[in-house]
Amino acid sequence: MNLSKELLAKIKKIIEKNHTFLTLSVLGKSSFTKEEIEEFKKLTGKEPNNEKSLLEYVYLSNFADNPVKNLSELDSIKTPRKDTILQSDEVIKTLIAKLSQDMSQKILNSLIDVTRTYRNEDFTEALKNKSFSEIKQRFKDISEDGNRDWGRVVATEMSNLIGYGSVDKILKDGGDPEETYVFRKIVGDIKTCRWCRKFYGENTPKVYKLSTLLANGSNYGKLKEDWQAVVGATHPNTRTSQIIEIPVGYIPNSSGTLTFVGKEKFLEFIEENLEA
């Protein structure tokens, strides 16, 4: 069996081209410079057709004033923290590039592996028999692995923007981070990790000053033992809610619903549940 350099190069290009389309289809033209779009056109031979990043929709749907009458109202509320969306776009670009590399390596490895198995046969002949279905199955397995990785990336970045969108909404409405108390709901099922339970509370939500969460920055690149409660994604694949403001006079119950109890009980609740 013979795997020529030309064939390997062609396969790598197919993988790269299709991942480029994935990047464009989820991030949209607005996330790229004119030069980058030109490069994509050269590589793929086609022009992307969607304008906006899917991540921008996630951010906006958690930021925007509700309800609005029509989409034209979006013009007045567009992206006060465009930098947040751009950062997430960059993370997605980098991770798709990594997925592309991983897939490329795995596909080439599986082909090399098959050529070893059928080393005494001509490659074309080998492909006509059972090795072709074997290759097909291996590619499907590789694709499923990639799909799982992609799901994790997407869930994490969406959680990041859900958090930032909700905080930007609080700030836009005039919230003072030093005077604003917030909490976050966890899903609370068997898959909920100990970190989210620890940071955000199980039966009674833990309360933070918004300034504390903002000061904690991001958990990206940190060791688990250094993770903190943050505005964005707490960890990969996190499923926590938006950042929810506790208005003066209200307290959240175990399911996260806010109930009016008056200022005195509100202050007692804050004193008992405020995290440093």
Binding site: N18, N50, V58, S61
Partner: protein, 59 residues
């Protein structure tokens, strides 16, 4: 995803009643779930096309 599809998702999100989405996670909120599914669908379509192209090249 077409622009119409994207606008439809956003419009639905924006029409939610005040506070209606509060406390929802990526997997609990219907609209976020819809966006997540589009992300995944894009990957699946890309992957299917990619594999077909490679297999065609190998034939």
């Amino acid at each position: 995803m077409s622009q119409d599809q994207a606008d439809d998702i956003l419009l639905k999100a924006l029409k939610r009643k005040e506070g209606g989405n509060v406390g929802s996670s990526v997997f609990e909120d219907e609209i976020m779930r819809e966006v997540f599914d589009i992300f995944k669908e894009n990957y699946e379509k890309m992957s299917e096309k990619l594999i077909k192209e490679i297999l065609d090249e190998l034939k």
